[in-house]
């Protein structure tokens, strides 16, 4: 083809200019589109890109330690490993199932669903064999992680189970609760005892490890790490050695013991029997174990020291004596005669000693626990007056000890009876109340508090388990309840009243009394026994305890303190369905615990003396 030099190219050039315009416009629009994606919406896409490749793996904070007053460890942490999945990958889950036997009730769909949001728990507390099996095949298991988790451990097992309580996985409802703010799904939080009530301080702060994964979920490295912060540690006022003695003394029997320092309310011992092993709650709980604990007829999970409600029995005579003295019905010297029974309101009321105590004054009546003396006071004291003095001693309401779920007991009066049973108060009931039977109900911790109030001449301190917060590396998180200790109060009774009560309790142990088995060599122990009737009427009440079915045996009380001058320990012991009354069943336990307490003190003083001597040389 030839050369067309003289062609008219103008129409072509005109159209080329049109194309040129269109091309510039289209390129310009593309630039605008990239501006929109990268600048206007850049932050959104940066977050999405981050969500693509960053997987936050939470690191649980170790809980703070719990120690007893001598520094023995009650609660600590042991290392454990959880198997988790952080990607919605059923292939990985299937591979894991072939590698590690999974619990049968694991909900595979739920695991995969949760895995989209973060690491989902596949198996808790796996063994070291499983850990190494999974680690070795990490490359074939995208999304699977071994998480190191500090797990709560109670080296003393059940020795102080009802004080320290236990931890358990945060429940759905608790996730919302203010009490557990800061806790995350799968976290173990305090569910009972000290663990529960001081949970916020013990818990610490979880850390997080942000790991980088690629498109197939394989781990590529750690982007950043926020280390977990240890929870605060606490020292309790209890002395584990007293618990050991109590456990030995109780043996298979059920009951409770509370010992406290009447001068300040520090709880020296608080135990409930039978106990349970709080370690059972720290890890994966198999359902059989759980239902065994829940359905155990002996109710090992309930804390009898603060939740068990029992009739006080003759211990209540201390309240009656106070009311009668303070109201001027009698004086310390007033004597009454006991023939073994008293006839009142058409009924015969029996004294414990069928042959009668003869003529006794108030101190003897307390020491020998003469029912007749107090039966005769009943018609002279309105039930409202008795109730007032009972409440003055702290009965009928919670002591506000730093433990959850304390019950208040019951001080009956006509108001209560109308509300609860829609019946009027019968005068005969006052006679029952006079010796601590009938509707009146108390807890062991209230009884210990009452003994403390008598021993100090009227000081009532709120019982406290919290002794001190242990030093921590970071600025300490204050224990919330520990800051609000209610102030001590004084009963404000006449000195003579305290003197009579104290003398009666001293004679009960050391004179002619019911509590001789609580005597401790070298220490002036004072106390009062009580028997809480389970089967009050009929033939069964006449049989010996050994011949009765266990559930119909009476409960046995011992309430006391030592030493007589400058008392430093008040104690309440309750034995459920005991063989023998308070003097035979409960007093020996108190004696053993008191002996250990004063032995500990003697050893401490000797150590101190030796150290001082060394220091002088």
């Amino acid at each position: 083809m030839g050369l067309n030099i003289y062609e008219d190219l103008r129409p072509l050039r005109r159209r080329l200019a049109g194309f040129r315009f269109v091309i510039i416009v289209v390129f310009g629009m593309l630039v605008l589109r990239f501006w929109q994606l990268q600048i206007a919406r850049g932050t959104t896409y940066q977050l999405q890109a981050r969500a693509n490749h960053v997987r936050p793996i939470p690191e649980s904070a170790p809980r703070g330690l719990v120690l007893d007053r001598t520094g023995r460890i009650i609660a600590e942490n042991r290392p454990s490993f959880n198997l988790t999945l952080s990607e919605d990958r059923s292939a990985t889950l299937e591979a894991l199932e072939r590698l590690v036997p999974l619990p049968e009730d694991v909900d595979r769909d739920a695991v995969l669903r949760l895995a989209r949001l973060g690491p989902a728990l596949v198996k808790e507390d796996i063994g070291i064999d499983d850990v190494s099996r999974v680690q070795a095949r990490q490359l074939e298991l995208p999304g699977a992680h071994i998480q190191f988790v500090p797990r709560r451990y109670y080296p003393m097992s059940g020795l102080s189970a009802h004080v320290v309580g236990h931890v358990g996985q945060l429940s759905e409802e608790q996730l919302e609760a203010a009490e557990f703010a800061g806790a995350e799904q799968y976290d173990y939080v305090g569910q009972a005892g000290i663990e529960r009530i001081y949970n916020a301080a013990l818990m610490g702060e979880n850390g997080v490890q942000n790991i980088m994964v690629n498109s197939v979920g394989r781990r590529e490295g750690v982007l950043e790490q926020i280390l977990p912060v240890w929870g605060e540690s606490v020292q309790l006022s209890i002395d584990l050695s007293l618990h050991e003695v109590a456990q030995e003394e109780f043996g298979e029997r059920a009951g409770a013991i509370v010992a406290l320092d009447p001068r300040n309310g520090q709880v020296l011992a608080l135990a409930s029997f039978p106990a349970y092993d709080p370690n059972s709650f720290s890890g994966s709980f198999d359902h059989e174990q759980w239902s065994d604990l829940m359905n155990d007829e002996r109710h090992p999970l309930s804390n009898r020291a603060i939740q068990g409600r029992y009739a006080p029995g003759s211990v209540f005579k201390l309240v009656m004596a106070t009311a009668a003295l303070e109201e001027g019905i009698i004086t310390a010297e007033t004597e009454m005669s006991c023939s073994g029974s008293v006839r009142l309101y058409g009924n015969v009321f029996h004294c414990a000693r069928a042959s009668g105590h003869g003529s006794v004054d108030l101190v003897e009546a307390i020491a020998q626990s003469c029912n007749s003396y107090f039966f005769r006071l009943a018609p002279k004291l309105p039930i409202e007056t008795i109730a007032r003095y009972a409440r003055l001693f702290g009965l009928g309401k919670a002591t506000e000890i730093d433990l959850p779920h304390e019950v208040s007991g019951l001080v009956p009066d006509p108001d209560w009876k109308r509300r609860a049973r829609n019946e009027p108060w019968y005068a005969g009931e006052t006679v029952s109340v006079a010796v601590g039977q009938g509707a009146v109900l108390v807890t062991a911790v209230q009884m210990a508090q009452l003994a403390g109030a008598v021993s100090t001449g009227g000081e009532i301190h709120h019982p406290r388990l919290f002794l001190r917060q242990l030093p921590s590396a970071s600025p300490p998180e204050p224990f919330p309840l520990a800051r609000h200790v209610p102030a001590a109060r004084r009963l404000g009774l006449r000195p003579e009243t305290y003197r009579v009560l104290q003398e009666g309790m001293f004679q009960a142990v050391n004179g002619v009394g019911t509590a001789g088995r609580a005597r401790v060599a070298g220490v002036a122990v004072s106390g009062k026994t009580g028997t809480s009737q389970v089967a009050a009427r009929g033939r069964i009440a006449q049989t010996r305890d050994e011949d009765r079915p266990e559930e119909l045996r009476n409960h046995a009380w011992f309430v006391g303190y030592a030493p007589r001058e400058n008392p430093e320990i008040a104690i309440a012991v309750l034995v459920e369905h005991a063989i023998g009354g308070g003097g035979r069943a409960a007093a020996p336990i108190a004696k053993a615990v008191l002996e250990r307490h004063f032995e500990n003190r003697r050893l401490r003083e000797r150590d101190h003396a030796r150290k001082t001597a060394v220091a002088i040389h």
Partner: protein, 363 residues
Amino acid sequence: MLERRQWRSIDWLTILGLAVVSAFGLLVIYSASHAGPTPDLYKAQIARLAIGLALLAAIMLVDYHTIVDRAEILYFATVGLLVYLVVFGGLRAGTNRWLELGIGTFQPGEVAKIAVVLFLAKYLAMVRKDRMTTAEVLTTASFAAVPALLIALQPDLGTAATIGVVYGSMALLCGLRPKLLAYAMLFLVVALPLSWQFGLRDYQKERVYSFLDPARDPQGAGYQSIQSTIAVGSGGMTGSGWLSGTQSQLQFLPTPHTDFIFAVVAEEFGFVGVATVILLYLMITLRALETARRARDRLGTYVVFGVLSMFVFQTLYNLSMVAGLVPIKGFPLPLMSYGGSSMLATMLGFGLILNVRMRRFVN
């Protein structure tokens, strides 16, 4: 062989532009593949770039009139090859678009596009009037339609569509009567739903669905689109830096060194990088348009414009795809994407453009 004035008319600026964009492409290919199973891809691409530049130089030496004189031979040989592929074609990547040679494979579709451009240029240059007659339109359209249909049968709808677009823009440049233009529009309106119904395979329809709503199958068909948009968007103003884009380095972005290479540019170099590269493409394009305008004859204008429309269409489609504006289609980004056929075809095309430019003066 070359005259002095022709030497002086070599368009060094365009060559520089092509080299800069290609070199930048090498950097990005390295970033997108160095951590993967095939870290040496960039070396192969360097070799192809070298061969491409040699091809570009070789094409410039021979006067484009001489080349166009042989356009029929090239055209019919290509059509023959395409027929052969459709009838006897080996299977590769599920399609019949590859031809096994002793030394490797190549896609006859890439050659077909150049052959069609040269063949059409030759015939359109013979149209003397300001607008084509109906007969001329039908004749030239059939020249484009035959190879386009054969390629569509492979099936390679992308290349077929490119040929369609190239023909359309060349015909527009040549001049169409308004009535004919209206018919063409009508034809498209009727043909599109029909081809949707009968022409597209399920996976192709799926691509369109997922373009319209990427979230409907985020792990499947919508995945590429979503991940590409995230990669682009997360780049921000200056990007995460070379070798540091998480979307590409951690393999969230599919085919980061081929079709979605520009998403890597956007992620690692941000809007600054994006705007720079787009401006380079625009510069190369405007320079070629200038060449078309200043060609010494109609033939030169058509050759340049045909090659350019091919280049611009593929570039714009790829960039729009990365920006999430059009359905995903396997178009490489000319000059930057990893791949031999595309690189050689692009360099061959620019060889022709430079060829026309250096011979723009009449003796």
